[in-house]
């Protein structure tokens, strides 16, 4: 029997053990799906329904209703009619984005005043401009004057990205990080604590074979997780990968290896799995919240943005987004930068963990 067949049998056993650990499988998929689900259902990217209050009297009723007729075809607009006092009250309570007040001036001119809360200034502006255009066209048509300006809007097929499209790559990056970190801690620190490592190394099993086998089986498992996440996201949310699938796989594998080596580093330093978990927790939290997994990194303060740009999770999630959503490829500098940066991380982490790594706990 060759060393290679020892390696294969151990790798098969590792994967088998993982598949039998129902709890681990459930939690490793439950959390990512929960995040994707929340973002998918809420779709924060959509601005949601725009509630518009209309205030008019008998003389201006015609204009207001015509405007409503035209705009309500767009389901994003929802109209409410009421007294000025009532509508302004609703505006103050954030139940209206804009209130439009229609009055007829003494000279017969139609005056439309729009009221908008400070935070919705942009939306208010759009609504006001749209209203003005529609009303102007109406009055031109009444006077049988041809509108000198014709604008025409055409929908062009773009990638048509929704927030969920950005969330899935981020969640994949996060899953790779968590899965890799905690599996290594379980395999090394956990099995060291339980005495399993001591027992298996009482046999002639080669330590390198053991390590490589664990890295390979963990990577295989991570790829299965990524595949499940992608397939379910595709079925449920119609997420598509714009860029190259092999490139997504390469990025995922590289990311997985970086986080595995990070796990080995921690496993060398921490004596107990409890200690290892506590050691890892703050780092993975920081990486997760600054890595663009949940929200765009541009909201971060400048210094934090700059520092966390070098985090492996940031590189990974940025490039997964670029490839999956924007269709970037190896020709794009940002993707190449990520591949190089992750490789540097990998080498540095391996060099450090080789120095700090301990197979046995020398406590006793």
């Amino acid at each position: 029997m060759s060393e290679l067949s020892v390696f294969w049998k151990l790798t098969k056993a590792n994967i088998l053990m993982y598949i039998r650990d129902r709890g681990a499988i459930f939690w490793s998929l439950f959390f990512p799906f929960m995040i994707i689900g929340i973002f998918g259902l809420l779709d924060f990217g959509n601005m949601g329904t725009m509630n518009i209050g209309l205030v008019y009297d008998d003389t201006t009723k015609m204009y207001a209703e015509s405007l409503e007729d035209i705009l309500k075809e767009d389901q994003n607009y929802k109209f409410h009619t009421g007294s000025k006092e009532h509508e302004m009250n609703e505006l103050e309570n954030d139940n209206r984005i804009t209130v439009l007040e229609f009055t007829k001036k003494d000279n017969g001119q139609l005056e439309v005043k729009s009221y908008t809360g400070k935070q919705n200034e942009n939306y208010g502006f759009i609504v006001t401009m749209v209203s003005e255009k529609i009303l102007l066209e109406m009055s031109l048509a009444q006077q049988q004057i041809q509108n000198p300006v014709v604008t025409q809007q055409e929908t062009v097929n773009t990638n048509n990205l929704r927030n969920i499209d950005y969330v899935v790559p981020g969640v994949i990056a996060m899953t790779l990080m968590q899965g890799s970190l905690f599996t290594v801690i379980g395999t090394i620190v956990g099995n060291r604590e339980k005495g399993i490592l001591k027992r298996i190394f009482a046999t002639p099993l080669d330590k390198t074979t053991f390590l490589v086998s664990n890295v390979v089986s963990r990577t295989v498992i991570a790829m299965m997780q990524v595949a499940i996440l992608l397939i379910v996201s595709w079925i449920v949310f119609k997420i598509k990968i714009v860029g190259s699938v092999p490139l997504v796989a390469i990025l995922s594998i590289l990311g997985c290896l970086v986080f595995l080596s990070m796990g080995f580093l921690v496993s060398g330093i921490a004596k107990t799995s409890e200690a290892a978990r506590s050691m890892v927790m703050p780092f993975q939290m920081i990486m997760m919240f600054t890595g663009g997994v949940y929200f765009d990194r541009s909201v971060l303060p400048g210094w934090l943005y700059d520092i966390t740009a070098y985090s492996p999770l940031t590189y990974l999630s940025d490039s997964l987004k670029d490839v999956m959503v924007k269709g970037y490829g190896l020709g794009d500098a940002s993707v190449r930068t990520t591949l190089i940066a992750l490789s540097i991380w990998l080498v540095v982490l391996i060099v450090i963990s080789v120095r700090t790594f301990k197979w046995e706990d020398n406590g006793k």
């Binding site: 029997m1 020892v6 049998k9 056993a13 099995n191 005495g195 298996i200 009482a202 002639p204």
Partner: protein, 254 residues
Amino acid sequence: MANKSIITVQDLRKTYGDLKAVDGVSFEVYENEIFGILGPNGAGKTTTLEMIEGLKQIDEGIVEIDGINVAQKPEAVKKIVGIQLQSSAYFEYLNITELLDLFGTFYKRKIDAKDLIDKVNLEGKEKSYVKQLSGGQQQRMSIASSLVNDPKVLFLDEPTTGLDPQARRSLWDLIEEIRNTDKKTIVLTTHYMDEAEQLCDRVAIMDDGKIITIDTPANLIKNLLSKGFKPRKRKFEATLEDVFLDLTGKKLRD
């Protein structure tokens, strides 16, 4: 029994800081014997055993098993010994057949797991996980795993600690069978004197990292009596354990 030695230990030492855990231990183990290392907790039994097995660094001294120097060729030694650790833990999600196969693989051997399982009386447990086994069954599984490489020497560290009388007796039978049928040499540690008396051909008694005496149990008892020792009179010819086994039977409960 031809007293051909298979293990020689010379002036073995291990120090942790100021503590001399093993302080100049020398002895020989003969082929096909059951050799016991006795002593209270903390006497240095496990440390001695683990240095002999090559699991712990030897600070000073020489250990040879079947002519192989342990410190120089730990990998070669690993191939000819079987080891049962004091607390044996195995992968949680492999059943015992798969575990034994995997351990065989570690020795680059293709083994007949069923055969080993039958040998240690675990028939019917082929598909069980270790955690589903009772204490006695786990010890027998542990012995099976240390037999996968058909070792010349089997090391058992406190094999019966924590077992009920039935399980202990069944394990004694198994250990004797491995010696008698498979012709293996067995080195075990224990702090049960009845176990040593029943099972071991020779015993070494350790305390404070040193071996105080080595001999057969019968000789050790004779020496003590010849020094004028008066044994505490037994009230009865039988013990409470005999009563217990008579009432509950010798059948294994696990």
